[in-house]
């Protein structure tokens, strides 16, 4: 396909100038509405495949937690912002995967930590103890294989983390 130029913006234009570009629907020709898989069956099959990947996810979760601990130690000892950056990115990824594989508590704990790092004012330092609490909570979920929403204790731990983050942010 030849390259298509970015539409020009006229030099002389009113405040409300805009151009709406309707294009031919080439994808509809490539993807006919007939002849494909039954969507409900295809979706069920995709979900089944995700279910089968759970064992691989558990292995990866264990490895990720080891890495979190290493980044946490490095940050505690050196306050190296790169260690914190690596920690944040890893937890951010873990948060995206947890619920997909039936571990929404990992997603909840990850969300709490990401909120803390993102909303903490720049002039304040991330508290290593709060990092440890989040990593420890993930470790418990992993070691006890707590699937789904977990029991009351698991829920209380997640809530306590969210409260600790809220307290820390409001200081």
């Amino acid at each position: 396909m030849p390259k298509e130029n970015l539409p020009d913006v006229p030099a002389e234009r009113g405040k409300t100038w805009h151009q709406v570009i309707e294009r031919p629907n080439d994808l509809a020709k490539k993807v006919p509405k007939t002849g494909g898989k039954d969507p409900e069956r295809a979706i069920a099959q995709a979900e089944q495949i995700v279910g089968k990947l759970e064992a691989e996810y558990i292995d990866k979760l264990g490895q990720d937690i080891d890495r979190l601990e290493a980044y946490g130690r490095k940050y505690r000892d050196s306050r190296d912002p790169r260690a914190l950056d690596s920690l944040f990115k890893l937890i951010h990824n873990m948060r995206g995967q947890g619920s997909t594989f039936g571990y929404p508590l990992i997603t909840d704990i990850g969300r709490s930590f990401c909120r803390y790092v993102r909303e903490l004012p720049e002039e304040r330092e991330v508290t290593p103890a709060l990092i440890d609490q989040h990593v420890d909570a993930m470790k418990v979920v992993y070691k006890r294989s707590i699937k789904g929403e977990g029991d009351e204790i698991a829920q209380a731990v997640v809530e306590a983390l969210a409260d600790a983050v809220a307290r820390e942010l409001s200081r």
Binding site: N5, H18, I21, A28, V31, P39, A46, G96, Q97
Partner: protein, 171 residues
């Protein structure tokens, strides 16, 4: 209803851009179950740029946080770079970020659809059907070029669902 159809995705090519190898594998298997086998991968925006120059995919599924080039920067290049080979390609932003500010900024740098992690097969299928059956017009203003922002599927949007309608653009 789109789901009554059996879309044949076998000729559709997709580029998945995600720095997490495990997530790439999950998406590959999910897409395969949905009938999509022409899938290629990149681990960040720079790799993805090379891939789109070689492949010109029909759809791009892109993560947000990646290094060295992240999702937002890559999407901006696809839309605005004079050398972009496919500035009109539909881009699904797949990310753990669901905060309103992030979603709004994703809309403003030109994504087509937003899909929150953890990814569910049903949501992924729905976004692909939406892209094929109901493509959004592009809009050029003095400060924006991308799919019409009034029809983006926002997870934070709780108003009336008017996606099926072609509303006139108001700038």
């Amino acid at each position: 209803m789109s789901n009554r159809h059996r879309h044949d995705f076998s000729q559709l090519s997709i580029l998945v851009v995600d720095d997490c190898k495990f997530m790439r594998m999950v998406l590959e298997r999910m897409l395969e179950a949905l009938g999509i086998t022409k899938v290629r991968f990149a681990a960040d925006g720079f790799e993805a740029w090379d891939q789109i120059n070689e492949l010109e995919p029909d759809v791009v599924i892109c993560d947000w946080e990646m290094q060295p080039e992240d999702g937002p920067s890559f999407v901006r290049r696809v839309r605005l770079d004079p050398e972009s080979p496919c500035r009109y390609v539909p881009i699904v932003m797949l990310t753990g970020y669901t905060e309103k500010a992030k979603v709004t900024s994703a809309r403003d740098f030109g994504i087509t659809e937003f899909l929150a992690k953890p990814v569910a097969a049903r949501s992924l299928h729905a976004r692909l059907v939406q892209i094929v059956d109901n493509p959004r017009p592009f809009v050029r203003t003095a400060t924006f070029f991308g799919p019409c922002r009034r029809r983006l599927n926002l997870p934070t949007y709780d108003g009336q669902d008017r996606r099926g309608q072609h509303d006139e653009i108001e700038i």
